[in-house]
C-alpha cells in the first residue's frame, strides 16, 4: 500500500511546485501595492507633525547600520538557497541560521528605535506623521518577524532531515519572501529616512 502512495506524492510535488511559486509571486506583487499605499500615505502626512516631533529625531547612522544588516541578510539568504539547490543541508542550515540572526538584530534595532522615539514624544497618536510612520515601519517589522519565524521553521526542519520534504513551505519560497522584506525596506529607508533629512 505505502509503496503505491510514494509515486503519487512525487507526481503531486512536480505538479504543484510551479503553481506555488506563481502564487508567491502574485502574493509579493499584491504586497507591493499594500506597502505602496502606506508609503503614499506617509508622504501625504510627513509634514503633519502637530505639536509633536518630526523627522529631526531620526538617528540616521543607527538606521543606516540596521539597513545594512537587513541588506546583508539577503546575501545570507541567497547563499542558503544556493546550498539548498546543491542539496547541501548543513551549509543551508548555517546560512538559514545566519539570516534569522540578522533579521532578529534588525528587529531588535527597530524596537530600540521605537522606544527612543516614544521617549522623545513621538507615539502612534501624537500626530498624523507619527501614525503614518509607525503604521508603515511597524507593518514592515511585522513582516520581518514573520520571516524570522519561517526561517526558524526551515532551520528546525533541516535539523530533522525534512528540508527537502517539499509539500509545504520550502527554502526557495521563504527566500523570495525574505528578499521581498529587504526590497521594501530599501524603499522605506529612502522615503522615510534619507529624503526627510
Amino acid at each position: 500500500m505505502s509503496s503505491q502512495a510514494a509515486p503519487v506524492e512525487t507526481h503531486d510535488h512536480h505538479d504543484i511546485r510551479p503553481i506555488r511559486k506563481a502564487a508567491m509571486w502574485v502574493f509579493l506583487g499584491s504586497e507591493c501595492m499594500f506597502f505602496g499605499s502606506m508609503i503614499a500615505t506617509f508622504l501625504l502626512y510627513r509634514n503633519e507633525t502637530g505639536d509633536g516631533p518630526g523627522s529631526e529625531i531620526f538617528n540616521i547612522p543607527f538606521t543606516s547600520a540596521s539597513s545594512f544588516v537587513l541588506l546583508m541578510s539577503s546575501l545570507t539568504m541567497v547563499l542558503a538557497h544556493n546550498a539548498f539547490e546543491k542539496r547541501d543541508a548543513r551549509t543551508t542550515r548555517i546560512w538559514l541560521g545566519a539570516t534569522a540572526l540578522l533579521g532578529t538584530i534588525f528587529l531588535a534595532g527597530q524596537i530600540f528605535e521605537f522606544a527612543e522615539f516614544v521617549h522623545e514624544g513621538l507615539t502612534l497618536s501624537t500626530s498624523s506623521f507619527g501614525s503614518a510612520f509607525y503604521m508603515l515601519t511597524g507593518f514592515h517589522g511585522a513582516h520581518v518577524a514573520i520571516g524570522v519565524m519561517m526561517l526558524m521553521a526551515m532551520f528546525y526542519l533541516s535539523l530533522d532531515g525534512r528540508l527537502y520534504d517539499d509539500r509545504g513551505l520550502n527554502v526557495e519560497l521563504v527566500g523570495l519572501y525574505w528578499h521581498f522584506v529587504d526590497i521594501v525596506w530599501i524603499v522605506i529607508f529612502t522615503v522615510v529616512y534619507l529624503l526627510q533629512v
Binding site: L44, S64, N82, F189
Partner: protein, 97 residues
Amino acid sequence: MAEAAAHRSHPTPAMYWGIALFLGVVTAIEIAVPSISALDPIKVPLLWMLAAVKFFTVVGFFMHLRYEKRLYKTLFLFGVFGVFPLFIVVLLSMDAL
C-alpha cells in the same frame, strides 16, 4: 525565449558576494548624499535612482527574477508598477493633487 531565460545559469556564491559588495557601496553613497550640500539640487532624484538600482539588483539577482519565466516576471512587475496608479488614486482621494 522565456524558457531560455529560465534555464540560464544562476550566479555563483562568489558572484553573490560581489553583488552584496556592490549593494553595500550603493548604500554608503545613499547615506553620504544628504550630507553633501553640493548635491542638494539633485538629492531627491538621485536618492530615488540609487534606491531603484538596489531594488532591481536584489529582485534580479537575489530573487532570480531575471532568470525566471516571463509569467513570474509579469505577475510581480504588475504589482510593482501598479503602485504608481495607486499613488495617484491615494493622492486624488485626499485632494493632494
